[in-house]
């Protein structure tokens, strides 16, 4: 900032220096003009040569004088600062009409924001690399909670590929039957029947799980008109709770680069409900709490807990 102020104070020196440059240019031009014109037509050769040499010397002395003058002035002007953080854009602050063109303050603001953005992006990328299988991380607070934008390229997987992935997963778990429907266009809807415990409807968008709803084994999954009922919730509180937990699991398992891994992890997690009514809570050791069996399954260990016992 101090440099800018100095430059502002030496504006006179600037104009003098500019004049000196012009003088230097014209004197240099004169040198070459006289060289170009050659010797003037005088009586004798001797006089001619003398006259030419003295004119050339005069011209060169004028150039020398102008160069000296410019050098003197340039020390007065001083060097433009290169250590300013905004480099030459810092000179924008010299604009005397701040109100009309507040460029400099806007520039500073933009600079601050871009710095911040870079910092946060760095943090976010390191966090996301650590927890690549999750869609959210409870412990990380608000910044990591936002769901990363899904790459559009993975949204247009061919239906054949989706069928393959699903049938492979179906073969992995013998106690789970997966039926695949495509009621509207290419998006698949899976009807997962888990033993004689529950039925889950999983609505897919390409290979991303969009929504899931869990109902009892003996509840209807088809609506009155024979279509798969993907909206109405279960009549039983235990399955309403399981539906909530399954939605949490959808947000938890996330890996945009490998969507098939996500579907497989989700199905592995869902399979742990095969013993929904048979396993006591791993913390309190009881079957019931407020009339409900342990409905929560840990995402990593798949252990059963009551909703209130899991913390």
């Amino acid at each position: 900032m101090a440099d800018i102020v100095n430059v502002g104070m030496n504006l006179d020196a600037f104009s003098q220096a500019i004049n000196a440059i012009q003088a230097l240019r014209s004197s240099v031009t004169r040198v070459f003009d006289s060289l170009k014109d050659g010797m003037k037509n005088k009586e004798t050769l001797e006089v001619r040569e003398k006259g030419f040499i003295s004119e050339f010397q005069d011209n060169l002395q004028a150039v020398n004088r102008d160069v000296n003058e410019l050098e003197r002035l340039s020390t007065l002007v001083g060097r433009p600062s290169e250590s300013h953080p905004l480099h030459n854009s810092g000179l924008l602050s010299l604009d005397p009409v701040q109100d009309k063109t507040p460029l400099y303050s806007q520039l500073l603001q933009a600079y601050k924001w871009s710095n911040k953005l870079q910092f946060h992006a760095g943090l976010a990328s390191s966090l996301l690399n650590q927890q690549s299988l999750k869609r959210s991380a409870n412990q990380m607070g608000a910044s990591a909670k936002r769901r990363p934008k899904v790459q559009p390229s993975t949204l247009v997987l061919p239906p054949q590929y989706v069928d393959d992935v699903i049938s492979r997963i179906g073969r992995m778990f013998p106690e789970m039957t997966i039926e695949l429907f495509r009621p509207n266009g290419t998006s698949a809807v899976l009807l997962v029947t888990l033993g004689k415990v529950l039925k889950a409807i999983v609505v897919m968008r390409s290979l991303f799980i969009d929504r899931t709803i869990v109902r009892g084994f003996h509840e209807d999954v088809y609506s009155e008109d024979g279509k798969l009922d993907i909206w109405s919730k279960s009549n039983y509180q235990v399955f309403q709770k399981v539906t909530d937990h399954a939605t949490t699991a959808l947000l938890h398992y996330q890996l945009p680069q490998m969507p098939d891994v996500v579907v497989r992890s989700f199905m592995t997690w869902l399979r742990s409900y095969i013993k929904l009514f048979q396993t006591p809570c791993q913390r309190c050791g009881k079957f019931l709490q407020e009339g409900l069996p342990p409905t929560w399954r840990d995402f990593r260990t798949l252990e059963a807990f009551h909703d209130t016992c899991r913390q």
Binding site: V197, G216, F217, V238, L276, F277, Q278, L288, P293
Partner: protein, 242 residues
């Protein structure tokens, strides 16, 4: 055919306030796991006092009262069989959960679920099955809901005198008795205390084992067993009085 029946059923269901479970596909008659047991009358207290105490305990637990229920059972003797064969018993039972149906259980033999006008048919079959008039047993009482549990607390009456208490606990979310028996046991323990029943024999004696879905006949069989016990008690009491 089935759709048409469903339509009529739906109308009747609304008129008679049939529980929702019989709304769709009533003829499939899938039901949930339920356990029927007899609660001993507390010493020095009457049947009614014991029932009131159980009501209080259920309400303390947070159960909501949801209407009432009844289950009844009529006994028929076979008549006019070939000589030398002992006469067999046929039980015809009704349950308020399925008010349009009735269950007929032949002693030690097959059972069937039929429409309500099976009773009329029995009148027509008078020459083969005779109604044992004094043997009508029924259980009436309140119906409670607690989360996915349905509790029916009834007073068993025979010839209009109270003989015992029945408790039916149904876990509606599960269809496989072997899966959720521990769960039901824990729930019964929470309001009946230590006298928890064993796994009902209907489930244990099934050929396919514990892991087949329960059905409505299982419930009725359990009630029949309970009514049989109550009848025997009466006989014993009668004998001891003599």
């Amino acid at each position: 055919m089935s759709r048409c029946r469903d339509g009529i059923r739906t109308v009747l269901r609304r008129a008679l306030k049939v529980p929702w479970r019989f709304n769709r596909r009533w003829w499939v008659r899938r039901t949930c796991v339920c356990s029927v047991c007899q609660v001993p009358v507390l010493e020095g207290k009457s049947v009614q006092q014991t029932v009131d105490m159980l009501h209080r305990q259920l309400e303390q637990l947070g159960a909501m009262k949801q209407g009432s229920f009844w289950v009844d059972c009529e006994t028929y003797h076979t008549t006019g069989t070939a000589s030398g064969q002992p006469s067999k018993l046929l039980y015809v039972m009704h349950n308020s959960e399925a008010p349009l149906s009735c269950t007929a259980l032949f002693e030690g033999g097959p059972c069937l679920m039929a429409d309500g006008n099976f009773d009329v048919l029995m009148v027509k079959l008078k020459s083969h099955f005779q109604n044992a008039k004094g043997h009508k047993v029924e259980s009436r009482g309140a119906r409670y809901r607690y989360c996915d549990f349905l509790v029916k607390l009834g007073t068993v009456t025979m010839n209009s005198s109270a003989r015992g208490i029945s408790v039916e606990v149904e876990y509606c979310a599960c269809v496989v008795p072997g899966d959720c028996w521990n769960l039901i046991k824990e729930f019964i323990q929470s309001f009946l205390g230590p006298n928890v029943p064993e796994l009902p024999s209907v489930f244990a004696t099934k050929a396919e084992g514990l892991f087949v879905p329960a059905d409505a006949v299982d419930t009725m069989t359990q009630y029949l067993e309970l009514f049989g016990k109550v009848r025997k008690q009466q006989v014993l009491q009668g004998a001891s009085v003599r």
